[in-house]
Assembly symmetry: C2
């Protein structure tokens, strides 16, 4: 009864410190790319999600009827909300570049990298139909991972719905939607069975050829050389060249499908190079969504990245920030000097230091032990010397201590 | 159907910028006071709240039965969760100083300063029974408001359950709990009616005297001089003196009650000096809560501050940050120079600038108009000059522009 719910997390200070560093870095990178932060409701009309994703999504939501009889849900994704927000403001200057890092909830069986409550970073560009926006979004996704230290630890796999359609048409495939649906199952069923299903729908020769195309992975030019001439291929070459200007590399992998009715062009997923975890992030172009919510038809491209897989891969790579508490200064107090100590603590706090202070009146030995356990860099001992405007400053790492004028504390502490 | 829910907010970039500044400042102040950030589930077993607050709270929650048959709720407050988190870690070093700034939800009729979804900053100290922790928490609350520019715009009203009990006992009042319950209604019913109820329960003379005591507001010493000698009064004098060392002033106001079964000592509320809004924040000591959740008996003191009233009062005082978009640099692109422009944008981004870049290929005039509307401080125009390693840098405020070597851009932009 007094346990947290399954798939939910209690984050204690040590772990929160690490998460804060990672989350701040991600948000800072989005800002550097000229994206603007927004914030959205965590609860929406359930219908908002049904319109985009159909009834299936309802199974996976924390949804309920509220006291006013409304069918509502904790948000399982941000896109419908962002599209709703975009549709309801006609005065926005395009392009619109938005990011957000909200909590989301999905009623799924919790497992490694999948929780019932998680954070998901989202970034989207609205109002640009050209490949330039796809490149900007892809570059942001990669720069976020690179700046977190994951460069070389992941592969950005890109596919394209338009190129696939072109290929299927060239091969004479008529049941294009059904073919996509089979391709989407490629990693979930045995190879033999997959090929059989593909040939059933696309025909024997075309099925075989599609299967071969799906297994080719490489640069855009490498993959195009297997496919032959392609109109859409030119756009993807341009995308690859643009990304090279950003200093980023992608892998064309036509087996990536992601959401059938939803994406309209480029789709992408960042995958752990060691193949251990599910996708780190995923996204693509979805030009038909905003109008679903009553907005003008608006080209859109974006991605989402949950925090759970990101944490797993960063921990495996040893680049998750250290999980520990931290303060700059602990103010230890000799009995009788609490008021002076408080004044000194406030002075240091106003200078921007993170300052804890004894509140217990226990022995100096115990106070310093506490200072050590909360990882204070310095302990300031306020006692008799304060009558001459001085305190003892103890470097908690080196153990060295000296008597310092209060006015010079800042200088001493900033030394290291 | 495609509207947001009543009492929920869409926060667009202009407004988000202001909120981010305010929220960051609040969190920074908490860190300066040596509090450590935690993060907690937004959904909990409903029972967790019933245990602390009784059935009444259930009426005001977004609560429901999940697909696994659990009675769960969106959190309407943080204290039960924090107490649960504390109770489930026996290894924590005391004192524990935690803060958090999560979203919360209450199913109440939305009105000015009261929303169905809101943020609430929370800070608590666990493990200190003495008034020193009350002082630290009160000082943090006031420093947060002061650092936001609200100094002199609010009054910190403090009362104390122990002092009130002492007074009531001295006056021979026997039905102490019932008397508190009446006092809690003081501002909600007419004065005459209030006095009548008080006299019904406390007796005619005592009722009159209590009513007089409740209307005295001032420094601790001023109020104590009306009450006569008091044991608990000494603690409150000490609290006032300690707060003076923090540079903070409180008003003793015994009419403040706040949560009857819940608080065990000092209680406090920060009120708009102009009396226009409901309380900005409120808190107090609650030494009996942690054991409710299976923890050791643990002294505790803390407060919560919602974002809605804070925003109202800061806006009224003209100190809410300006609501506008902001980027540092917009990179405008002459046709044919997209790759060079992208490289320059990435270089500036890696230097920490917030850089937007044209993605549309529209005319330079339109690009610069966009730069103006997103409040870019500088526009960099990448064209022919880039062949000699130069770009045009345009100060968007002054309108002045000059040709600058790419290597010197950082310097030029940092000039103002």
């Amino acid at each position: 009864m007094f346990q947290k719910l399954k798939g939910f997390r209690d984050i204690y200070p040590e772990s929160m410190r690490a998460r804060r560093i990672v989350f701040d870095k991600i948000n800072a990178t989005a800002r550097e790319f000229g994206f603007h932060e927004i914030d959205a409701p965590s609860v929406e009309h359930l219908e908002l999600f049904r319109v985009k994703s159909g009834d299936e999504i309802v199974e996976q939501t924390f949804s309920f009827v509220d006291k006013g009889g409304r069918s509502i849900t904790l948000i399982p994704e941000l896109t419908p909300t962002v599209a709703r927000m975009l549709a309801s403001r006609k005065d926005l200057i395009k392009p619109v570049k938005w990011f957000s890092f909200p909590k989301m909830w999905r009623y799924e069986e919790p497992q490694s990298g999948r929780l019932r409550e998680f954070y998901q970073f989202n970034a989207d560009i609205f109002g640009v139909a050209g490949i330039e926006a796809d490149a900007e979004v892809l570059a942001l996704a990669m720069e976020i991972l690179d700046s977190l230290g994951l460069k070389g630890k992941y592969e950005m796999r890109v596919s394209d719905r338009l190129l696939m359609e072109e290929i299927l048409r060239k091969l004479g495939v008529e049941r294009i939607e059904e073919t996509f649906r089979v391709i989407d199952k490629r990693d979930k069923i045995p190879e033999e069975q997959f090929l059989g299903k593909l040939q059933d729908i696309a025909g024997s020769d075309a099925g075989l050829e599609i299967s071969e195309i799906l297994s080719v992975k490489g640069t855009v030019s490498e993959v195009l050389s297997k496919i032959g001439e392609s109109e859409r291929g030119e756009d993807l070459l341009e995308l690859q060249e643009l990304l090279a200007a950003y200093g980023k590399e992608i892998t064309l992998d036509l087996s990536i499908v992601r959401g059938l009715a939803y994406y309209t062009g480029v789709v992408f997923e960042a995958h752990d190079s060691k193949g251990e975890f599910r996708a780190i992030l995923g996204g693509g172009r979805y030009d038909n969504v905003v109008q679903l919510f009553g907005g003008e038809p608006t080209p859109a491209v974006g991605f989402g990245m949950g925090d759970a897989v990101l944490e797993l891969i960063m921990k495996r790579e040893g680049i998750w920030p250290e999980e520990r508490m931290e303060v700059d200064i602990f103010v230890a107090i000799v009995p009788g000097f609490r008021k002076e100590a408080t004044q000194i603590a406030m002075k240091l706090r106003k200078e921007g230091f993170r300052v804890d202070m004894d509140l217990t009146g226990r022995s100096l030995g115990k106070q310093l032990k506490y200072a050590n356990r909360i990882n204070a860099r310095y302990a300031i001992i306020v006692g008799e010397e304060v009558r001459e405007g001085k305190v003892v400053a103890k470097n908690m790492k080196s153990g060295g201590q000296r008597t310092v004028e209060i006015g010079k504390l800042k200088e001493v502490i900033n030394e290291n």
